[in-house]
């Protein structure tokens, strides 16, 4: 491994080590690339496409592109901002995101990334899908209306908790999150709030019961500073308004 491997990101030299992606190298250098399905603790998933950057002129997912010497990477350009905004808008109309009625509002990564890319409105025609809410578990609730299929809960439950509670079923527009039990109910699993899977959801799809709207508007995680400064909800401690257990 050579010591001086690097690529250029928006005119800045970014060093990297073997095995790093454009995303992880940028993160280590303190550069924010918007993302939703990426979490540094897990193998890349490449599903949300929010992290699109231009690598040597070609649009690629930063979280799934291995860093290589001499790459010219563009991140903060008007064109990419517009593509990302379009992706965010599609994520919003595909589900049911009533932020004023969502306990995660203000500390939601989906919302924060949408603010970051300057999304003012969803632009597209809303699907208004009919999806259930599962409140069968004594401590947690799943609102499938807010799931963006990032599979972070799937990965966390399978790879860290060893419980394999979640899965994505179906293809294309039919794809949806399921709970791996005969009844399909979370209450029938051994899911626990101590699980890693309870700490990684970037949206308000997985929520802890009995703790709604605890932090006043104006003091929530992303109320005053953008996600590029604050960091991901999964990396911020619960006591600071994030999801990570201390």
């Amino acid at each position: 491994m050579s010591e001086d491997q690097s690529f250029m990101l928006d005119g800045r030299r970014v060093p990297f080590q073997d095995g790093q992606t454009v995303m992880t190298a940028a993160l280590a250098a303190g550069i924010y690339i918007p993302h939703l399905c990426f979490n540094p603790e897990f193998a890349p998933h490449g599903s949300c496409r929010v992290c699109l950057v231009k690598v040597n002129g070609r649009v690629q997912a930063a979280c799934a592109t291995p860093a290589a010497s001499g790459q010219i990477v563009q991140n903060e350009t008007g064109e990419l901002r517009e593509i990302r905004r379009g992706i965010l808008q599609m994520l919003f109309v595909e589900g049911n995101h009533v932020c004023p009625a969502c306990e995660k509002s203000g500390a939601c990564q989906l919302q924060a990334v949408a603010y970051y890319v300057g999304m003012l409105a969803p632009h597209y025609t809303h699907f208004y899908p009919r999806r259930p809410v599962d409140a069968s578990h004594p401590e947690a609730v799943i609102d499938f209306n807010r799931c963006i299929l990032c599979e972070l809960c799937v990965r966390a439950s399978r790879d860290v908790d060893g419980k394999n509670i979640f899965a994505v079923q179906g293809r294309g527009i039919q794809a949806h999150l399921v709970v791996n039990t005969t009844s399909g109910k979370l209450g029938a699993t051994d899911f626990s709030l101590a699980d890693k899977a309870a700490q990684v959801c970037p949206t308000g799809a997985i929520l802890t019961k009995h703790r709604g709207y605890e932090i006043p508007i104006g003091q929530r995680l992303y109320d005053r500073k953008p996600i590029s400064v604050v960091g991901d909800v999964a990396t911020v401690a619960e006591s600071k308004g994030g999801r990570r257990h201390e």
Partner: protein
């Protein structure tokens, strides 16, 4: 001679008037605004007939036939049409009824509701017919600008209106963009 005043119309469709309350939250800035604008049809003036306007501000989504009618009239008469607030942008809380069939919503409210006397579904011809789903404004007419928030804060409205009236590029500071 002073400049002619900008003519503004406002209305609330399937909203809660929260966005209009936020407009009133401009407080003393309303005096400044009144120097520059003239209100046409608006719940604040009680003028019923809309005339040709420079700017139309609409709160709320579209949930019934009358909403559609009013929205089309605003589009026809306003040079610039702005969707204000969560409901106008994505249907908001009223659109949560889209999870259910309209028939079930009506029956739940008017036939099965607790403590109802003489339960019946209202069908007076004066009452606008409900649409089967609630929709945001941009799914019905072209919208020129969007201002998110539930409601947008008075500060956000102030920034927006000032930038628009002075032909500046629209750019809200981070703390003034929120969806709730």
């Amino acid at each position: 001679m002073s400049e002619p005043k900008v003519k503004i119309a406002t209305c609330s469709l399937a909203g809660c008037f929260g966005c209009h309350m936020s407009l009133l939250d401009l407080d003393e800035r309303l005096f400044d605004l009144a120097e520059r604008v003239e209100l046409d049809r608006s719940p604040l003036t009680d003028i019923k007939e809309l005339s040709d306007c420079d700017l139309g501000l609409i709160e709320g989504g579209v949930c019934n036939a009358e909403n559609v009618h009013v929205l089309m009239e605003f589009r026809a008469r306003c040079k610039i049409l702005v969707a204000i607030g969560a409901c106008a942008l994505n249907g908001g809380v009223p659109a949560m009824r889209n999870q259910f069939d309209l028939k079930d919503c009506l029956e739940e409210s008017y036939l099965r509701g607790i403590g109802l006397v003489n339960p019946q579904i209202p069908n007076d011809p004066e009452i606008p017919l409900l649409l089967d789903q609630v929709h945001p404004l941009h799914e019905v007419v072209k919208i020129d600008y969007f201002l998110p928030g539930c409601p947008p804060s008075a500060d956000a409205i102030w920034t927006f209106v000032n930038q628009l009236l002075s032909d500046q590029p629209l750019a809200l500071p981070y703390t003034q963009i929120h969806y709730d």
